[in-house]
């Protein structure tokens, strides 16, 4: 066992293309890191920014959104919605101090097992390099910290 940081990743995969791409990677015995938990969604356009934020809050270090290539969407233009949300979400997360690349958008078709393998491998390596996110830890009780500080001050004579 090495003590390198193992990121926790969530992958939202559309059921028509990317999830099948992941399946193909699996049935073709392609190897990729086991860090990503895949979640099947009907369409990448179903991925609300709430899902991404919630994933981060529950401890994810990175989120992958994968859908059909433009023009291939089973629902005609669901992935166009995703294409619009992604840059706004990136911009918003950047404002909150997140590193670029914590959320990744990829188009993976049902025939692209190899691309799926490459994307997950790359993404895992990138997030490993970025380190843990630590999101959600900040809602600790600051007044408790304050009490500890005061106690420490009193313990040390000035």
């Amino acid at each position: 066992m090495s003590d390198q940081f193992e990121p926790r990743l969530i992958g939202f995969l559309c059921r028509w293309c990317s999830y099948n791409g992941a399946d193909l990677a699996g049935t073709s015995r392609m190897k990729y890191p086991p860090n990503m938990v895949p979640i099947k969604t009907n369409c990448s356009g179903r991925i609300d920014p709430v899902h991404v934020l919630k994933a981060f809050q529950e401890g994810a270090d990175g989120v992958l959104i994968a859908g059909c290539h433009p023009g291939d969407c089973h629902y005609i233009n669901g992935n166009y919605r995703t294409a619009g949300r992604y840059p706004l979400m990136e911009k918003m997360l950047e404002q909150m101090g997140l590193e670029h690349g914590r959320v990744r958008l990829e188009w993976v078709s049902a025939a692209e097992g190899e691309k799926f393998q490459r994307v997950v491998t790359e993404f895992t390596a990138e997030i490993r390099a970025l380190g843990p996110l630590g999101w959600g830890k900040q809602f600790h009780d600051e007044s408790a910290d304050l009490a500890v500080d005061e106690a420490a001050k009193e313990a040390v004579p000035a």
């Binding site: 609300d48 920014p49 709430v50 934020l53 919630k54 981060f56 809050q57 433009p70 992935n79 166009y80 919605r81 294409a83 619009g84 949300r85 992604y86 840059p87 706004l88 979400m89 911009k91 918003m92 997360l93 404002q95 909150m96 101090g97 997140l98 590193e99 996110l133 630590g134 999101w135 959600g136 830890k137 900040q138 809602f139 600051e142 007044s143 304050l146």
Partner: protein
């Protein structure tokens, strides 16, 4: 001073004071409030000290309207005292309910904010790099300032809250309606709403109250309000203004949009929505009309300041967090 009157308190924590003014917006109804209530603590209007408040028995105050967010140790202390002393504690106004405008400071921590204000501002002349001190000794004794926290919190992230009245500031007719319900309940003439309810709102969203003509939403370009004169009849969102109407609780009567200002979302998320800003981001990106994903992405990315636009009043209560603590 009469013993048979109900006890009323109002307090401002991290806020601008607009909610205090809003209470007076109920106009002649304030006479009715005076007939039913005795003010026992209201720093903005009457001369009570913290030690008066701390001397009351627990549950002495019948209704407390608490406005403002929890920004520092003083806000938190008084919130906790008022919780103990009040039978009904109401988070009053956007700051107490969702964090409000001061909550936007959550993009940075206290050290960053102080550095910006006391060192980095071009208009600041502070060659010694002096910061305000929390403790300072003068011949008369020690002076103390409250400790500023890193993170702005809402009232219910600090103490248990009975009711929520959103709005920046809450609309007068909604305040009057809420006071009527509470007064009737105290007199035993009617029930109180279920605990934890958002009161002083209407069902559905702001769009439902907005009288502008709404058609299919297809936006080719996002604009800001100073860039053009919007059409007086058409939906503002359809004209390319980021109007928070679709992701905002109804209750205000769509006052902003009726005079050509896009909704900024002060009434908070509608029922069933856990994150107002994320929903609005979704909406805005979905109405962009362009032939290719690249162009859609390009147009969507032109929305300036997504955090400040989508979470103008609700950053502390949202799912968004600062990445670095």
């Amino acid at each position: 001073m009469s013993a048979d009157k109900f006890k009323f308190a109002m307090y401002w924590a991290g806020s601008c004071g607009g909610c205090e003014i809003a209470l007076l917006e109920i106009k002649e109804k304030i006479v009715e409030v005076d007939a039913n209530y005795e003010v026992v603590f209201w720093p903005a209007a009457t001369d009570f000290k913290y030690k008066d408040l701390e001397g009351y028995d627990d549950g002495y105050i019948d209704v407390c309207l608490f406005n403002g967010c929890i920004r520092n140790s003083e806000n938190e202390h008084i919130a906790k005292v008022l919780r103990d002393k009040s039978k009904v504690l109401v988070a009053f106004g956007a700051c107490a309910v969702m964090g409000g405008i001061p909550g936007l400071a959550n993009v940075a921590d206290a050290a960053e904010i102080k550095k910006l204000v006391y060192i980095d501002q071009p208009s600041i002349d502070n060659p010694d790099g002096t910061y305000p001190q929390e403790h300072f000794t003068v011949p008369e004794g020690e002076l103390e300032l409250p400790h500023m926290y890193d993170t702005v919190k809402t009232l219910d992230q600090t103490v248990d809250v009975d009711y929520y009245v959103p709005g920046c500031a809450p609309e007068a007719h909604q305040i009057a309606a809420v006071l009527d319900v509470v007064t009737a309940a105290l007199k035993g003439e009617g029930p109180l709403p279920p605990k934890g309810a958002t009161v002083g709102v209407n069902p559905k969203t702001c769009c439902d109250e907005c009288e502008r003509v709404k058609e299919e939403k297809k936006v080719h370009e996002f604009k800001r309000i100073w860039e053009f004169l919007p059409d007086a009849e058409k939906c503002l969102l359809e004209q390319g203004l980021v109007c928070m109407g679709p992701a905002t609780h109804a209750g205000c009567g769509a006052r902003c949009t009726s005079v050509g200002m896009p909704c900024r979302g002060c009434y908070g998320a509608p029922d069933g929505v856990i994150d107002q800003g994320a929903k609005m981001l979704s909406t805005v990106a979905s109405i962009v009309d362009a032939p290719t994903p690249e162009e859609i992405a390009e147009i969507a990315a032109t929305v300036p300041d997504p955090v400040g636009t989508f979470y103008r009043f609700g950053l502390p209560s949202s799912l968004l967090r600062r990445a670095k603590v």
